[in-house]
């Protein structure tokens, strides 16, 4: 447990509405100078500054409580806005959470009718764990070493890893994403825009990563992350009220500063031996590029219609140099490489055609065709001369690499007719065909029928409902695709397996009185994998919600909703270690999943007290997932001990009070409460109780270790955050 306290006082300058979530949600006032400044073109400077203090107390998992944000106690400056607008120019600069890990800055400049420019710098932290520990020392970027004496002692059988876990060093497992982005829209003529976007994203830190030497020697390392993605998107766009033409080029490069990662084997010092390497090696994420040229054209057609066409041609490449098969010196030389670099390449061709027509008032017809071809052109990588599994064992017989090209064509047509004022009934049909290489089906075809009713436009009543039926079937079963990897011939991969899907969705709102509105929604879905005898067999989902908004007058606004969801799935496996067992149906076992979710959200705005605005919001979300094993009658498999349910519960509440000291100055006080509970059999504290596995049982000797992990786990937390702020706006 870590607990942090700090005290701050606050000056509150200028809380601009709509700030980021690290800031209490400011309550817009009708006299807000920033809102006025934004809506007028007076040439006067407007702005706001929010200055205050935050006190944060976190019991439990501090990292999860601040997973993507920085709530440290201290003085903070937030919602800094300075802007000026005339009829010719607009300028606005904004800053959030200045100096904190989640800080963000933005500058917008608009030369009206000529140039629109926007610049952004944003930091997104990802704090994975504050409790992780490791025995590894990163001696240089990407090289993780253990104490030699520890490896030697363990190798000699004089100790187990449990003897050393006390020496593990705690560290923060986290990454930081830094995004710089510039967007420019230059209007060369009233109808012509030149659009340029440059975006650079750098990500640094460490993430948990498997680095295993075999079934009984699993290792987890803090994988270093240090890479950069640079995107350039350009387009030339011409349009008028008859049509549009857009031509563009998009390019993206991914550069990783690390080529490889090396780590010691905790169970062996050396010398290397077949089956017992002293170290292992991963490649790091490969440098790659993705480029596209694309063009879009649209033209208005008779019957108040529009034809739109889009075509794009792209290429993805990765030509990273390949590492040797292994770093294990026992395989000297290692099996030869079929080639020295990846030479991985994909060619993409995409085309869309849309015709939208309105032949009569209250009647429309849309037709779309989409073609997509992802053609992997990577040469087959021949491994017939051997490979090395886990850096440990030589595999002399290997099948060549297989690449998964996919070609899709989709045609859909939909017609809608108004059957009553504001009410339309729509029917739609879609045919989706897919061709695959090296999948269990050569092709799949899916027929989709949809019927919907949408009643909108009436401000007192809204209803949307849709029924959808999908039937997907495969052709050209590739039995070899399963057999060559030892899969059951009755297994079907659920992403392309034959499937019947029905889904009904409904959402409605109704104004009961001028101040009360109620809403309800429902979604019911059934997926049945009709031909699958193993793998995922069925998946059902049911989602419902009810809610109400009550606003008797400008002084009060109450909204609340409650939702409940339940999910279930059935899947079947067959425990088999050889072909004979694979043919034995009594070895079947099943996993029945059920998931239940309840959530409640409420918000209450009170403006009944002069100069005072109060906002109270809260939400609660609870999920309970169970996985129940089952055996068939006469099963030779030992009766399993069922796993405990996985439970997650999050309760959040926020209270924000703002008092208007003057037109320009407001005093704010806010309190946030965040409470998270979790029970997880795989990642919970009861299981991940240390870094060496299996753990030592009371009264027993340390077992033979089969894993050295980082101790990343799901833990509960309770966070209290208090804010005092002054907002000054001008």
């Amino acid at each position: 447990m870590r607990r942090t306290y700090a005290l701050t006082f606050a000056f509150l300058l200028a809380a601009a509405p709509g700030a980021f979530a690290q800031d209490p949600p400011s309550i817009p006032a009708p006299t807000d100078p920033v809102a006025i400044g934004r809506s007028e073109f007076s040439g006067k400077w407007y702005g706001t500054v929010d200055f205050g203090g935050r006190v944060t107390s976190i019991d439990g998992d501090e990292a999860r409580a601040q997973r993507y944000r920085d709530l440290r106690s201290g003085i903070y400056a937030n919602n800094l806005i300075a802007g000026r607008r005339t009829e010719d120019w607009m300028f606005e600069a904004q800053a959030w959470n200045v100096g904190y890990r989640d800080q963000r800055y933005q500058l917008d400049v608009d030369r009206v009718g000529r140039l629109r420019a926007s610049f952004l710098y944003d930091q997104i932290p990802l704090w994975i764990s504050a409790d992780t520990k490791t025995l590894y020392v990163e001696t240089q970027p990407g090289v993780f070493r253990l104490e030699d004496s520890m490896q030697q002692t363990i190798q000699a059988g004089q100790a187990t890893l449990h003897s050393y876990t006390d020496q593990a060093v705690r560290f923060d497992l986290k990454t930081m994403r830094r995004i710089g982005q510039a967007d420019l829209v230059f209007s060369a003529t009233p109808n012509t825009n030149i659009v340029v976007q440059v975006k650079n994203t750098n990500r640094e830190g460490h993430i948990p990563f498997g680095a295993t030497f075999g079934f009984s020697n699993a290792v987890e390392i803090p994988m270093p992350v240090n890479h950069r993605t640079t995107d350039l998107r350009t387009a030339l766009e011409w349009s008028n009220n008859k049509g549009l033409v857009r031509l563009g080029w998009d390019g993206s490069t991914f550069d990783n500063t690390l080529d490889s990662v090396v780590w010691d084997n905790p169970l062996r010092f050396g010398p290397d031996a077949s089956g017992a390497p002293s170290q292992g090696r991963h490649t790091s994420w490969a440098d790659n590029t993705l480029t596209y040229v694309h063009g879009t054209g649209a033209v208005n057609i008779p019957m108040n219609g529009r034809l739109t066409a889009y075509a794009a041609f792209g290429q993805g490449r990765n030509n990273q140099d390949l590492l040797p098969h292994t770093i294990n010196t026992a395989f000297n030389p290692p099996p030869p490489l079929a080639r020295t670099s990846a030479e991985a390449e994909s060619q993409m061709t995409i085309a869309n055609f849309t015709a939208a027509m309105r032949p009569a008032r209250g009647f429309f017809l849309n037709a779309r065709y989409r073609y997509s071809d992802v053609d992997v052109q990577t040469p087959v990588f021949d491994r017939s001369r051997g490979s090395v599994s886990y850096d440990s064992s030589l595999q002399s017989s290997n099948s060549p690499s297989e690449y998964h090209s996919v070609k899709r064509s989709s045609f859909d047509v939909e017609a809608s007719v108004n059957v009553a004022p504001y009410t339309a009934v729509k029917a739609a049909y879609n045919r989706l065909g897919s061709d695959y290489t090296h999948r269990i089906w050569e092709t799949t075809n899916e027929d989709v029928f949809k019927v919907s009713v949408d009643s909108t436009g009436n401000q007192r009543f809204m209803l949307r409902a849709q029924y959808e039926n999908r039937q997907r079937t495969g052709e050209g079963f590739e039995a070899d695709a399963l057999a060559e990897v030892g899969e059951l011939p009755t297994m079907r991969h659920f992403d392309i397996a034959d499937r019947d899907r029905t889904r009904f969705t409904f959402i409605g709102t109704a104004g009961v009185t001028s101040s009360i509105e109620v809403n309800a929604s429902a979604g019911v879905g059934r997926d049945e994998y009709t031909e699958s005898q193993h793998g995922l067999l069925a998946f059902d989902s049911n989602q419902y919600s009810i809610g109400a908004n009550i606003a008797p007058d400008d002084r009060f606004n109450l909204s609340a909703s409650y939702g409940w969801e339940d999910y279930s799935s059935q899947q079947r496996s067959r425990n088999a270690s050889d072909a004979v067992q694979q043919a034995d149906p009594t070895r079947d076992w099943t996993t029945d999943y059920t998931g239940k979710v309840d959530y409640f959200e409420a918000g209450f705005d009170i403006n009944a007290i002069e100069r005072t605005m109060i906002r109270i919001t809260g939400d609660w979300n609870r999920s309970n997932d169970t996985y129940l094993y089952g055996l068939v009658t006469g099963s030779p498999i030992a009766v399993p001990e069922q796993l405990p349910p996985v439970k997650n519960e999050l309760l959040r509440a926020e209270i924000d009070l703002t008092y208007e000291l003057s037109r320009n100055l407001r005093l704010g006080v806010a309190y946030w409460f965040d409470d998270y509970k979790v029970e997880d059999f795989a990642l919970g504290a009861e299981t991940i109780s240390g870094i060496a596995f299996p753990p030592v049982q009371e009264g027993q000797q340390a077992p033979t270790t089969n894993a050295l992990l980082l101790g990343y786990q799901y833990r509960p937390y309770t966070a209290h955050v208090g804010f005092v702020r002054l907002t000054y706006a001008w």
Binding site: R69, R464, D625, T687, A707
Partner: protein, 244 residues
């Protein structure tokens, strides 16, 4: 405003609501256009008179347009609640939840994108006005390309590919709106993997509560404790994704 490209510069309210003089001359016969009393299509036709480029260019024929969503379903011209985009609700989440309640509810799950923290919003991934990609995704030409615009390390192409990834959908295994499972997986491991893998080695084994602390196929990050390069491998011995 002086922006001569916008009709509003010269015509003011009449730009959207129609000729005021005609209404003044014959108030009974000529009514100003009242957007809450006309069809969604007529509303959109008015707005796209000007908003016909950039992110709005593909509105006609888009999924939202086809469901009778009007511009004023989400936007308010005269009384917006949001600071940007003139939304009827205070922000994008509050706007989109009107119809997509199940998606927004998922943001409160333990595995989620940083939306509730304010670092992303619905339009970080989607353009609700129409796109050339599927599912109104605003970047790329497939679900995967949209995801890998931020997660480019998983983009490939790879020396060894995991089936169902290249050119297909990350959403086969991940729920981008949120999940109670680690890494926003649609099901917990090893059950998710066992939905497709059932062969003669360990994937077809029951991992029950007896082995919860001793089997690296169940505890911690389960299958990816070993198969860590599950998205694809560039290692010459990475065919089963044990080495990245």
């Amino acid at each position: 405003m002086k922006n001569a490209r916008t009709p509003a510069a010269g015509q003011g309210c009449e730009t959207c609501h129609g000729p005021g003089e005609a209404h003044a001359n014959d108030p009974e016969k000529i009514k100003p256009k009242q957007f809450n009393k006309i069809s969604a299509k007529e509303v959109s036709a008015t707005c796209t008179t000007c908003h016909n480029k950039g992110v709005h260019a593909l509105w006609k024929g888009s999924q939202h347009e086809a469901r009778n969503v009007a511009c004023i379903s989400c936007h308010s011209i005269h009384k917006p609640m949001s600071t940007t985009a003139q939304l009827k609700a205070i922000n994008q989440q509050a706007t989109c939840i009107t119809c997509h309640r199940d998606k927004v509810a998922k943001l409160d799950k333990s595995g989620h994108m940083p939306v509730r923290e304010g670092k992303m919003e619905c339009t970080s991934c989607h353009n609700p006005h129409g796109t050339t990609n599927v599912r109104l995704l605003k970047t790329g030409n497939s679900v995967n390309e949209a995801c890998s615009s931020c997660h480019a390390e998983k983009r490939g192409p790879w020396l060894f590919e995991h089936a169902g990834i290249n050119g297909e959908s990350c959403a086969t295994c991940h729920d981008p709106h949120g999940s109670s499972n680690d890494r926003m997986l649609v099901a917990k491991l090893p059950f998710l993997c066992q939905r497709c893998h059932n062969h003669t080695k360990h994937p077809s084994t029951i991992y029950d509560n007896k082995v919860v602390q001793s089997s690296n196929r169940l505890f911690s990050r389960s299958c990816v404790t070993c198969h860590s390069a599950i998205h694809g491998s560039n290692h010459p011995s990475g065919s089963t994704f044990l080495r990245q």
